[in-house]
């Protein structure tokens, strides 16, 4: 997967590139708005990560010009501007996500992966399945094996979000934003409580665990036995 990262701070570029490269992404760097536009036109990137404040012209202008040229690759903003209206501006221009600095690198990776997956075609299935857990979007019904699980509306939404991308790390903020919208970011740690409630209903009394914590980042949904689950959590904590 090829990513263009437009950012004028060289140190920021270096480590983001290194981190993404170590996870198997190819990253090109541009340090000004015009340079970013030129590179985006010359190569077909799968994703553009954009700073807002850039020399030349800013990230908003760059995105507008990209779209005007008919380039519709996904775009993530990485900005130091925390005003809600800046986020709204970015998303209204057609960006797929808007992260504010300082961000957790793992958060960026989770979002990049989520967008990559979405670009490959989002599952529009009415029924989501992970292991023996089934979620029926239409009838708002969740079953594990042959037993029905009763969830609150919010728990249902969290589970649906997790089940849409099994095997992928989902950050707390991603869950928060998708289920509650913006404005709760100070309390992203409290998502743990919601997940624990959910986990109790979904995983308790089952040898195969489905919801797992990825320390420092968020959660992942996949089939693991109890011992695997313990191992991986120890590994993360290691």
């Amino acid at each position: 997967m090829q990513i263009l990262y437009v950012e004028d701070n060289p140190t920021a570029c270096e480590y983001v590139r290194k981190g993404l490269a170590e996870r198997g992404f190819q990253v090109d760097i541009a340090t000004t708005g015009p340079a970013g536009l030129e590179k985006a036109q010359a190569h077909s990137y799968d994703l553009v990560v954009l700073d807002v404040m850039l020399p030349g012209f800013d990230g908003f202008v760059l995105l507008r010009r990209l779209r005007a040229l008919g380039l519709d690759m996904p775009v993530i903003f990485l900005s130091a501007r925390i005003e809600p209206r800046d986020r709204i501006t970015g998303l209204n221009l057609g960006a797929d996500d808007y992260l504010t600095k300082p961000f957790a690198f793992a958060e960026l990776v989770a979002r990049v992966r989520a967008i990559a997956r979405r670009a490959n075609g989002e599952p529009q299935a009415q029924r989501l399945v992970v292991g023996d857990l089934e979620l029926d979007c239409k009838r708002h019904r969740v079953t594990r094996g042959d037993r029905e699980i009763r969830l609150t509306p919010r728990e249902f939404e969290i589970l649906r979000y997790l089940m849409r991308c099994p095997g992928q790390v989902v950050s707390r903020n991603m869950i928060l934003e998708s289920v509650w919208g913006y404005g709760f970011e100070c309390y992203s740690n409290l998502i743990n409580v919601h997940i624990n409630h959910l986990r109790k209903k979904v995983d308790e009394d089952h040898a195969e665990k489905l919801i797992h914590t990825v320390r420092g980042v968020g959660f992942i949904m996949e089939v693991r036995t109890a011992s695997e689950s313990l191992d991986s959590e120890l590994l993360c904590a290691g």
Partner: protein, 492 residues
Amino acid sequence: MPADSGAIAAGLPAREAQRSETQAFEPRGLLSIGTRLALRYSIATTALIGLLTFHLYRQIESYILGGAETELLRHAAAVAEAIARFPDDPRTLGAFLEMQIAGTRTDLRIAIDVWNDAGERIVSRDVLSPFDGPPPAWTPQQVGDHWIYPIERGAGHPTFALLARNEIGTTRVSLHGESFLESAAAIRNTFLLSIPLAILATGIAGSWLARQSLRPISEIAATARRISASPSSESIPVRGSGDELDLLAATLNEMLDRVRSGMERIRQFSADAAHELRTPLSVVRTRIEVTLEMERSPEEYRRVLEECLGDLTLLAEGVLSVLRLASSEAGLAPGSLERVDLAELVASVVEFFEPIAEEREIEIRYQRPPPCEIAGERVWLARLFSNLVDNALKYSDPGSSVRLEIQAGSDHFAVSIADAGVGIPSEAQARIFERFYRGETPRGAGLGIGLPLAQEIARAHGGTIEVESRLGRGSRFRVCLPRDAGAAPSAA
């Protein structure tokens, strides 16, 4: 961010430039209010004096000429009497008229002639009449009146004449009006001469008056300039006369106070923020420095890096909340207002905190009312209510409940969040909205930004937050938000 720090650094010279610009301003003499006032005053006064003078002159002129008319009438009356007494004796009549004239002022050069209807002069006297020919034809429709006295002016002579009809013909009495006209002219000249004098006098008086009444304004401006250049707490003196200038001085003083307290708040804010962030920064720094002082095992490096990451995450949270507070103080952007249903928003906040409350064995009670729509920013309002609910849960005891309620007023909604927790000591109640204020909290609270942020958000929406609290009984926060926050003033 380099762009950020650049903007801050660029802010300082810009402010300097602005200051020197205000100092360079001087009112330009030609256009100063004083000059314009004086000019308008003297134009108005001159116009008034001119009009009055003109009217007065007309009155005096007609009075003077009326004097000539009276003289003519007196003689005409005498002639009429004489004609009535000697209708058939022109000689006697002539002598009589001679006598009549002899007693009058010689400078008037009074002449009397009587003409019959055939156009012949019956009586005349030696004094040369200014009129050569017979009087003009008598207009019959005027016969009915005994006395008719149109005044004629002799050609080239300042002469007045009076014609009267009587039994034997027409009597013409005439006199030289020079003296009358001369007095009228003298008066007119006096008036004409006085007008430029009046213009001059009103101009001087006007500019004096204008300068007198404007001087306090110049003084106020000078004081304001001096004050704004210095950080002193001096204020513009109010003279106590209760006039417009006092109002101006009082208004300026209010503005100065607001600017000063704003500046003080910003100064205090950055000082506090820097102080709050300095301690964790120094912790990270020391940790890294000490670790680097000697060779350590990879495990130890890893542990230190992880600890640093933890500290930096907290620090980043701190910076973010300070930034959020700062940006909430800037007020709402007019373009970013949307319809926000408070009933729905509060419900979603409650849903968010429900499991947390459950874990702490606290019940959240909220009866969702019908939609309560206001114009605002949803993200900010979500922060406001989540702060208050989080706060209420933090200070509640297990087994108690937190109650949320929305009351609809005619022009506002009041959202109240009440807990039955520890309560806030009365001396702390006034301070809980201060930045970085942390009372004696039972559990480790954050930076002391939550409530100030809530207050700033309410203020940015044109609303208020009030708190009632009793120790040991609990606290009740009441957020009033106007339905139409679009017209909200930004935080002053």
